[in-house]
């Protein structure tokens, strides 16, 4: 197998006395979807922040396409092909949906007209095109989640970090998003996804990495992981088991 697109090597991230991510290692192969799961507060978002450049790791490093990217700022990482969404959505509230996406499109399309055209296409894909001219603040949660994905996609990334993009969507909406994610995978995008909705994460992930109290407690295919007693106890609870 080729070199993995992303390698997380013994990453530790501390906040003062609290170790939010504790010596976590795993890798993501090109073209696969890896699910990152774990109880609330396990350190998933923190790990995303490390990978996408928002935090420098306290220890360890992150290798992306063969280069050590730990400590590089997010805007540089966007440039090398890492796109991400935020669990707490961050729309540019005072701008329209189209403008929001256009800003991301600038990365690959420095001309404004090109960027705008590209943004339209992204919005068509994500199903927000008919809301393009409303202010981003006026979107519902579902809309904002979709806007998050649109912005990340407009960067034309090769690697996508999705932090709970399905959470809060009703089943039909969720299904649409899942469809979109599968489509992206089909195009060769590599995806690392955090999600608590089992129906979603179990279906789309090729592999799962499980965190608990900052530590990796399991890794494997969905079926392997869901039968792991540690994971069941820490994460799924008895009922699901």
């Amino acid at each position: 197998m080729a070199e993995p697109i992303l390698k997380v090597n013994s990453v530790t991230k501390c906040f003062g006395g609290l170790t939010a991510v504790d010596d976590v290692s795993f890798s993501v192969e090109k073209g696969e979807i890896v699910g990152l799961i774990g109880p609330n507060g396990a350190g998933k978002t923190t790990l995303f922040n490390v990978i996408s450049g928002y935090y420098a790791p306290t220890k360890g490093n992150v290798i992306f396409q063969g280069n050590d990217i730990s400590g590089k700022p997010p805007y540089d990482l966007a440039g090398v092909g890492i796109g991400r969404t935020f669990q707490v959505v961050k729309p540019f509230a005072g701008l329209t949906v189209l403008e929001n996406v256009t800003i991301a499109s600038f990365l690959k399309h420095p001309k404004k007209a090109d960027a705008e055209r590209h943004a339209w296409q992204v919005l068509e894909t994500t199903g927000l095109a008919d809301r393009a001219n409303v202010s981003a603040a006026g979107l519902t949660l579902a809309g904002r989640k979709r806007l998050e994905i649109s912005k990340a996609l407009a960067l034309e990334p090769s690697f996508l970090l999705l932090d709970e993009v399905v959470a809060g969507l009703n089943p039909t909406e969720a299904d649409r998003t899942v469809e979109l994610i599968m489509k992206l995978k089909a195009q060769g995008l590599t995806i690392l996804i955090v999600e608590h909705i089992m129906r979603v994460i179990m279906n789309i992930s090729d592999r799962l990495v499980v965190l608990n109290f900052g530590k990796k407690i399991a890794e494997g295919t969905p079926s392997e992981v869901s039968s792991d007693p540690h994971v069941v106890q820490a994460y799924f609870g008895e009922e699901a088991a």
Binding site: S52, G53, Y54, P73, P74, Y75, A78, G79, G83, R84, F86, K90, P91, F92, A93, G94, L95, T96, L98, E99, T102, I103, A104, F106, L107, K108, H109, P110, K111, K112, A115, E116, R117, H118, W120, Q121, V122, E124, T125, A129, D130, A132, N133, K151, A152, L153, A154, L155, E156, M182, K183, L184, A186, Q187, G188
Partner: protein
Amino acid sequence: MKNRGATILAIIGAALLILPLVVHDTFVLRVLTEGVMWIGLAIAFDVIAGYTGYLNFGHGAFFGIGAYTIGILMMQAHLPFWAALPAGGVAAGIVALIAGIPTLRLKGAYFAIATWALSRAIQQLALNMEMTGGPDGMRLEAFLNPQFFYYLMLITVGATFAILWYLLERAPFGLKLKAIREDEEGAKALGLNPTKLKMQSFILSALPTGILGGIYAYWITFIDPSSTLGDLVSDQAVVMVVFGGMGTLFGPALGAILIFAFKTIFWAYLSDFQLLYLIILGALIAISVIFIPNGLWGTLVKRKAGATRPEQKAEPASEPAALSAVAAPEEGN
């Protein structure tokens, strides 16, 4: 729509250009010169405040730095005005660069007050230096040609307006700044470097302000710390921009025109009620904030419907490679 706007602008521009040929009244020219200067100061201020979201309460410092640079270069280095003028802008730009690196890390009110402190510090510096003449200020050689200053101001502000219009409304730069204004952290994930963008906008705001300060110095012939480095420019710019509408170019220009006109008319023709002026101006500001929080421009000109959706037909042919897959029709699955 766009054409009509351009036509109106062209007519206003042409009218302003030929005006001195028709109007010989030097007082009117002086008032217009100052009015145009305020338009320039307001739009330059809005680059950092309205577009980028950093309320600079020390905008006046750039003005004063420009004024003093020209004063010192002309009176002490005996440079001709034309040689000194660009230096005014450059000096303001350099100060923006040096001060911006640390200051732009601050947010919201902290930034506002740090810039205020900085401008006060610069004023104190001018009060305590030999080169500036200290509290006595500095006199420049008088060259009182009203037409000259009118045209110089008009061309400088016109050029500033055009350049800013291009950069902020036509080029991606303006939208990038707005992204910074809305959410700096979020913008980083989209490949924007906030530090760099903020820096650029701060310098872009300082440069024309410094040049206007330089023209002012030569025009008024006397500068001192309280008039050029005091709060006047900063305060007035804030009021004009907020009144007119932040984050646009026409708003601040409109705000500058109206506030300046109000001030001037009151000053010239109702000077017996000078104290009333303060009361009315204050009340006007307060009331306008309550009733037109988007500024006059934002209220008058409702945001236009926005970009139109390109026709579906354009889709397959013009798609960039990376996305074509994303947008690929259903059967691609």
